[in-house]
């Protein structure tokens, strides 16, 4: 078994639009009787297909899988070279290609890969690559649930420069140095409530301890991010719709249109965004000047407010019911400023509850969160034999 305090984990993510790889040092600390983890990102590389899908207005599965195949090795190599500047990937030709060198892997302790949920063809690319690498490098493999990655993304530090962090920060000598952000996550107090909102997911999860998840609520129809995308399409805004709607919402009036707050008083933690989407469509159809910039901004602002209202209200109710001490936010919609600000405002009334927001670089799909989740699992003694790992496009966390 691995008894190291700090594990260097290579994370691989390819569940939808992004091909990503990252190296994260996951530090274990026993504070009194409580087990805590700190995370330090040495490298995080993301190749996105969003620009390509913008042309088609969405993901094209076959193209997506083909792009992942083309991107995945260069992305992994970039992440490893960023994390370990002295490590060189094997050369294809030349005298230096001795077999021992050919198979000498990077100084990582394990590989973590997203096995689900997601697009089946896209997931397969990451899982098969991880399987091959763990086989050749003889490292432990951990299958990670994409949602668990999003939960832990709020505990990652902000990368120094955008998507890729300065590589000088890594290296063995810095491994155990518990940096400030790591110290921050060392204070995660349970129980915690996690709100995960993205294009494919809207879930409220309860964490009683590390690795123990219970899904207490989820959407009954559309995901929140999907509603943003569809509203953007109705208004003729660009893809991806979330940032487009948020941008236009800044100039709009949040009270211009009273869109329904689906299931806000349902008494449980489930969500519904389908009715909100339909209400926007009818509102656009009835409008005399649907392309009027003022009208578009007002619809964006009012819709965004309706969505944020429901998300914040349910999260706060969950905090009260489960006496949560921590709230974690994750997923692509976690980049939405209105959601971040209003969640913080609502939690100001609960001074004993800590709020962790993901850095913008890690709110969308990335591999650092997968490496972090994999590191925690490995510290807890969980791993997946390479013979057994399988893609599970419907993998549900905590149900």
């Amino acid at each position: 078994m691995l008894r190291k305090r700090v594990l260097q984990v290579l994370g691989i993510e390819s569940s939808c639009d992004e091909t990503a790889a990252a190296v994260v040092a996951v530090q274990r600390a026993d504070v009194g009787r409580s087990l805590q983890f700190g995370f330090s990102v040495s490298a995080s590389v993301i190749a996105s297909q969003v620009a390509m899908h913008a042309k088609t207005g969405g993901v094209v599965p076959e193209v997506a899988a083909r792009e992942h195949v083309l991107q995945i090795i260069p992305v992994i190599e970039r992440a490893l070279r960023d994390a370990y500047p002295s490590w060189r990937p094997p050369k294809h030709h030349g005298k230096r290609t001795k077999s021992a060198r050919m198979f000498a892997g990077p100084p990582i302790d394990a590989i973590a890969v997203t096995a689900g949920p997601g697009l089946i063809t896209a997931l397969g690319v990451g899982v098969e690559t991880a399987r091959a690498l763990t086989y050749v490098w003889r490292k432990p493999l951990i299958a990670v649930n994409h949602i668990e990655g999003h939960v832990l993304s709020a505990l990652l530090e902000q990368a120094a420069s955008g998507k890729r962090q300065a590589s000088s920060h890594a290296g063995p000598e810095n491994r155990s140095a518990s940096s400030e952000p790591a110290a921050r996550s060392l204070s995660l107090v349970f129980p915690a409530v996690a709100l995960i909102v993205s294009g494919g997911h809207t879930e409220l999860l309860l964490l009683r301890r590390w690795g123990a998840y219970r899904c207490v609520g989820a959407t009954r129809d559309d995901a929140a991010g999907e509603a943003f995308d569809k509203v953007a399409k109705l208004l003729g805004l660009e893809y991806p719709g979330g940032p487009a709607v948020a941008r236009r919402a800044v100039e709009g009036d949040v009270q211009a249109i009273d869109f329904p707050r689906g299931m806000i008083a349902s008494g449980d933690f489930d969500f519904s965004f389908s009715g909100m989407k339909t209400a926007v469509r009818m509102c656009v159809e009835r409008a005399t000047h649907p392309a009027d910039p003022k009208f578009v901004s007002d619809v964006c602002a009012s819709f965004q407010q309706a969505a944020v209202d429901v998300l914040v209200a349910k999260t706060i109710t969950a905090v009260t019911k489960y006496r949560a001490r921590t709230v974690l936010l994750g997923g692509g919609v976690a980049a939405n400023r209105a959601l971040r600000e209003q969640l913080a405002t609502a939690l100001a009334l609960h001074p004993d509850v800590a709020l962790h927001l993901p850095p913008l670089a890690y709110s969308g799909d990335n591999a650092a969160m997968i490496a972090a989740a994999g590191g925690v699992r490995l510290h807890l003694g969980k791993r997946t034999p390479w013979q057994e790992i399988a893609v599970d496009p419907n993998w549900e966390l905590g149900r």
């Binding site: 599965p61 989820a218 959407t219 009954r220 559309d222 419907n394």
Partner: protein, 149 residues
């Protein structure tokens, strides 16, 4: 492929009625069918599929497949045993659904495939024993006209 000989029209005044029409239709399914659903955003395509699922005794929650493109549910019947819920909203043609393995399901005697935005990928249904076209038209905010073909 056998062409359906009858055409039915239903007026639905609410989500509940759409669900009931779908539940009733689910009882006529024998397996091998492909159901192509069309109608604007918010017309009730997903509501209809949720009704089908209910009629087939599926207890799992039927959520939007827009993101993952395809979800497979196990029924509590001996036949059809599976309901495959597909959303073609984000795809441009049938080949892209072939790429995610939909052909493994269409026409399988133990499965029913329901495809939202089905017209744009209609050729994928050629292997089905029967093609049912469900067209949902908005009459006003709550009312829908449902045509089964």
């Amino acid at each position: 492929m056998r062409k359906s000989d009858k055409r039915e029209e239903w007026a639905s005044r609410s989500e509940g009625e759409t669900t009931r029409i779908a539940t009733r239709m689910a009882r006529t399914l024998r397996g091998g069918e492909a159901i192509l659903l069309d109608g604007e955003l918010g017309a009730g395509k997903s509501v209809f599929v949720r009704g089908l699922a209910q009629g087939l005794g599926i207890r799992a929650r039927v959520t939007s497949p827009t993101f993952v493109l395809m979800r497979v549910y196990e029924t509590t019947r001996t036949c059809p045993r599976f309901l495959v819920h597909v959303d073609a909203y984000r795809v441009r043609n049938a080949e892209e659904l072939v790429a995610i393995g939909l052909m493994e399901w269409t026409g399988r005697p133990d499965s029913v495939v329901a495809i939202e935005w089905g017209e744009r990928v209609a050729e994928i249904a050629h292997a089905a024993t029967r093609i049912i076209r469900v067209r949902l038209t908005n009459v006003d905010a709550a009312q829908r006209m449902i045509t089964l073909d």
